[in-house]
C-alpha cells in the first residue's frame, strides 16, 4: 500500500531513474489510480523539460566591458587596485571564515565530504499491512521510512541513502512488531533486550 505522501518523496528519484524496477512498478500502479499524483508527476516532468530546454548560454565576448562602458563614470566603483584587492582578498577571507567556522563548531570531519551511498533493504513479510525501516539514520522514527510492498509474495523494499559509518537498524511490522533484518550479517544487542541489525558503509 503506497500513500500519496510516499509518492511525493519518491517522484524525483523516479524521474532520475533511481528506483528499483519493483519500486517503479508499485509507484506506477499507484499513479494509474491517483489523479493528483499523476498531475504532480506531470508538473515535475514539465519542469525537468523546461530546465533541460534552457541549454547553455554563450556569453558574448566583451559583454562586461560593454556594460561597464555604458555606465556613467561615477558608477564604476572602486579603483583597479581596490578591485584587485577585493577580488583577491574576498575569496581568501571567505575561505578563512568557513575554515574557522568548521574548526570552531568541531563538526569538520572527512566523512562530511564523502557522498552518501545507496542501500537497498528487503524483508519478506507476506501477512504485513505495513513495514517501516527504522534506524539511527532516521531517529528510529517508523513514520519516516515506509517500505514498499514490491510483489505478491510479500517482499518489502526500501532504498536508503546512508553516510559512511556503522548504522544500526531494524524493521517495524504493522507499527508494533520490531524485527532485525534476516539478511544482515551482523546484529548487536540493543540494550533493551532485543537486537539491532548492523550495516557498515565504507567511506
Amino acid at each position: 500500500m503506497l500513500f500519496c505522501e510516499d509518492v511525493e518523496l519518491m517522484l524525483q528519484d523516479y524521474l532520475d531513474g533511481y528506483l528499483l524496477p519493483s519500486q517503479r512498478e508499485v509507484l506506477e500502479g499507484h499513479m494509474r489510480g491517483c489523479r493528483s499524483c499523476r498531475a504532480l508527476l506531470g508538473s515535475l516532468t514539465r519542469l525537468d523539460g523546461r530546465l533541460e530546454g534552457i541549454g547553455d548560454v554563450e556569453v558574448p565576448e566583451g559583454l562586461s566591458r560593454s556594460i561597464l562602458a555604458a555606465l556613467p563614470a561615477q558608477a564604476y566603483g572602486p579603483s583597479p587596485l581596490r578591485r584587485w584587492l577585493i577580488a583577491g582578498l574576498a575569496p581568501a577571507l571567505a575561505f578563512v571564515l568557513v575554515a574557522a567556522g568548521f574548526l570552531f563548531t568541531g563538526r569538520f570531519a572527512l566523512h562530511n565530504l564523502v557522498a552518501d551511498r545507496v542501500v537497498d533493504l528487503f524483508i519478506s513479510a507476506p501477512q504485513a499491512a505495513s513495514v517501516a525501516v527504522v534506524g539511527d539514520f532516521n531517529s528510529w522514527d517508523p513514520r519516516r521510512t515506509r517500505m514498499i510492498r514490491s510483489n505478491h509474495e510479500g517482499r518489502w523494499t526500501a532504498r536508503l541513502k546512508l553516510p559512511p559509518g556503522v548504522h544500526q537498524y531494524g524493521f517495524v511490522i504493522d507499527g508494533s512488531t520490531w524485527v532485525p533484518d534476516p539478511g544482515a550479517k551482523t546484529t548487536l544487542a540493543d540494550g533493551f533486550g532485543g537486537r539491532n541489525s548492523v550495516i557498515i558503509i565504507d567511506s
Partner: protein, 197 residues
C-alpha cells in the same frame, strides 16, 4: 560639548559590548522557540518546563548542538519521562560535550528506546551505558593515537569503538585491532569492519 561626545561614545561602546556578549547565542534563541513548542504539546507543567529549560540552556552552553538537546527533550516528552529524567538526559549530554565526546550516539539510543516504547528508567540506563562506553572509547583512542593512529579519525571512530565495547568486545582486542591498523596502514573503514566482524 566634549563631555556630550564622550558620553555618546560610552553609550555606543556599552551597547556594542551588550550585543556582542549576549548570554543567549543566536542558535539557542531558535532552540528556545522549538523548546516552547515541545512544552506546549507535552504534559510538563510550568515548573517542570522551567527546570528542563534551565538544563537545556546548560547543555547548549556546554556545547551540545541545539538539535541534539531538542531531540532529548522531545524524546522525553514523547516517552513519558519525568522532568528530572529529562534533566538527567541533558546533564549527561552536557558532560559528554564538555569532554569533547560526540553526543549523537547517546541521543540516538534515547530515541531508539522511546520508539521501542521502553520504560523511561530503562532508556536512561541504556543511554548512560552508551555514554560510559564513549568515555572508555575515548581513553582507548588516546592510547591508539600514541600507538600511531591518526587523531583525525577520532570523531569518526569513537562511536564505533563505544558500540563495540557495549556489545562486549574486549578492550585488549580493540587495542590489537589498532596496533594491526598501524602496522597495515588500515583505513577507518577497515578498522570498523574488524570492530564488527
Amino acid at each position: 560639548m566634549a563631555n556630550g561626545r564622550a558620553f555618546a561614545i560610552m553609550v555606543i561602546a556599552i551597547g556594542a559590548v551588550f550585543f556582542t556578549s549576549s548570554p543567549v547565542p543566536a542558535a539557542s534563541r531558535g532552540g528556545n522557540r522549538e523548546l516552547e513548542k515541545i512544552f506546549k504539546s507535552s504534559s510538563f507543567g510550568e515548573p517542570e518546563a522551567a527546570q528542563i529549560a534551565r538544563a537545556f540552556k546548560v547543555a547548549v552552553d556546554a556545547g551540545v548542538e541545539d538539535r541534539d538537546a531538542l531531540a532529548l527533550v522531545e524524546s522525553g516528552a514523547d516517552g513519558g519521562f519525568a522532568a528530572d529524567q529529562v534533566v538527567r538526559l541533558l546533564t549527561v549530554a552536557a558532560q559528554l560535550s564538555l569532554e569533547s565526546l560526540p553526543t549523537e550516539m547517546y541521543v540516538s539510543k534515547v530515541q531508539e528506546g522511546v520508539s521501542k516504547r521502553m520504560e523511561p528508567g530503562r532508556i536512561v540506563q541504556a543511554a548512560e551505558f552508551r555514554a560510559l562506553k564513549l568515555k572508555q572509547a575515548s581513553n582507548l583512542f588516546k592510547q591508539a593515537v600514541l600507538d600511531g593512529i591518526s587523531s583525525r579519525d577520532r570523531e569518526e571512530l569513537l562511536p564505533d569503538i563505544a558500540e563495540a565495547l557495549a556489545s562486549g568486545m574486549d578492550q585488549g582486542r580493540i587495542r590489537e585491532i589498532f596496533l594491526e591498523a598501524v602496522k597495515n596502514g588500515d583505513s577507518p573503514g577497515a578498522i570498523r569492519r574488524k570492530l564488527f566482524p
